[in-house]
């Protein structure tokens, strides 16, 4: 069993497929996420691929505070993803709600709605910070096995 588990963990770390979802961001973090996926940084080196559907994705990359309107959709998209799944909150708003915290139409950070595995602060978070955050998340998968 140990060997099979090791191989599966290795495969999970080597092939993270992401789904990008804007939960109400001002678009700055989205541009940085897209910038991280361009040939400039070439994330396919690490096996990262952007997928169109939550069914194919392993990591949900969210940007922006959760607005009241998007809350149901965020939960639905999260539940459509197959296990094991991880959520990464990109940007200060996604981490805590940022300057929008306490607004009448904002529920708070991503954590207020769905469990989050990694927080990447920044306004906006730079592509290098996003890559670093995802790499740290993937490394955390490996650690308990040692």
């Amino acid at each position: 069993m140990g060997l099979v588990k090791k191989i599966v963990t290795w495969a999970r770390i080597k092939s993270p497929w992401i789904l990008h979802f804007n939960t109400g961001a001002c678009n700055a973090c989205d541009i940085e996420i897209i910038a991280a996926l361009t040939p400039r940084y070439d994330l396919e080196r690490f096996g990262v691929q952007l997928k169109g559907t939550p069914r194919h994705a392993d990591i949900l990359v969210c940007s922006g505070p959760v607005t009241k309107q998007i809350e149901d959709r965020l939960v639905r998209i999260y539940e459509q993803m197959p296990e094991p799944k991880f959520v990464v909150a990109v940007g200060t708003c996604a981490c805590s709600g940022g300057v929008f915290n306490g607004c009448y139409n904002i529920k708070g950070g991503i954590k207020s709605t769905i469990p989050v595995s990694a927080f990447i602060p920044g306004c906006p978070a730079s592509p290098k910070a996003i890559i670093d955050g995802v790499v740290k998340l993937l490394q955390s998968l490996e650690e308990p096995k040692k």
Partner: protein, 312 residues
């Protein structure tokens, strides 16, 4: 009995063709990346993707028909693996050869498309349904030129058995030059069959998320991706066997290596084509196939009929 099981399960059946298919996907993605000035995925990427998908949760949507949804990928995989048993790999002989097997190979290659249609249709997602209908619409456009150009080459060889075609073209290598138009047509039609970029209308990720595969996850998605990889290998192997089957008369190992190199060459051509062109609309695709590819295929057919009259 044991020999048959060995050839079905290990070589050149399931195991060999799966590994080769995954390697071919890596090769294709690497060339695609290098042509875009990127580094590209490492060599184990496709294997990691496959293992990861195998270990993921299988979700069957509650509105989907679970039986059809689950069976369609398995039918698709079984049919493409069966095709590989009929293609000569290391000598001018196949395991099970009969006169007319080229027709069977062509029709077995149609089965995955229909399976994608059925799987997408029964997953009852809107995106999947649009994708699966486009899948079948596209089938009617590229299938005719593909069949015509491959059968034109068979006509010149005066046989409908792959083995006889291979023997004929190995004996008369210069005759391959007459089939160049047919080779071009079937290369482009193969892009349509594999749903690659100029013709990736059924799974256009910027418009209909992932087409017929939208609702598939986990193991079933792994099978579907493996099916497309193997379809790429088998389609390229078929083109090699029909249009330039050189090297098969050499010793088994050299012949095998040469044949693999030829398959890789066709896959490289496919990746090159998919890098340099952009996606067409479905109506543009059908117009292109019926207005330009079918007349050219008919021309190839007439050319081969005339040549046959003159040369033999």
């Amino acid at each position: 009995m044991i020999k048959a099981l060995f050839s079905i399960l290990i070589f050149p059946g399931f195991l060999f063709v799966s590994v080769f298919g995954l390697f071919a996907e890596f090769f294709d993605r690497k060339i695609y990346a290098r042509l875009q000035n990127r580094v590209g995925p490492p060599w184990f990427q496709t294997f990691a993707d496959f293992i990861k998908l195998l270990a993921k949760e299988d979700i069957v949507p509650c509105e989907a028909n679970p039986r059809m949804f689950g069976l369609a990928p398995i039918f698709a995989l079984a049919s493409v693996i069966t095709v590989f048993l009929y293609i000569p790999l290391w000598k001018t002989e196949t395991l099970f050869s009969f006169n007319g097997d080229i027709i069977m190979v062509l029709y077995l290659l149609t089965v995955p498309t229909l399976a994608f249609f059925i799987g997408g249709w029964y997953s009852t997602s809107l995106f999947a349904r649009i994708g699966s209908v486009r899948c079948v619409t596209q089938l009617f456009a590229y299938e005719v030129p593909l069949f015509m150009s491959i059968l034109a080459a068979a006509l010149l060889a005066n046989s409908w058995s792959l083995v006889d075609i291979v023997i004929f073209y190995t004996r008369h290598p210069l005759y391959c030059l007459f089939n160049l138009i047919g080779f071009g047509i079937s290369l482009i039609a193969l892009l349509g069959k594999l749903e690659k970029t100029p013709f990736d209308i059924p799974e256009a990720e910027t418009e209909i998320v992932a087409g017929a595969f939208t609702e598939y996850s986990g193991r079933l998605l792994a099978i579907l991706r493996l099916t497309i990889d193997i379809e790429m290998v088998v389609g390229s192997a078929l083109l090699v066997a029909v249009f330039f089957p050189f090297g098969l008369t050499l010793a088994p190992i050299t012949g095998f290596v040469v044949f693999m190199a030829e398959i890789m060459f066709v896959i490289a051509l496919l990746s090159l084509l998919r890098t340099v062109v952009a996606r067409l609309r479905i109506d543009q695709m059908i117009n292109f196939c019926w207005k330009y590819m079918v007349p050219l295929a008919i021309f190839q057919l007439l050319l081969n009929l005339t040549l046959k009259r003159i040369l033999m």
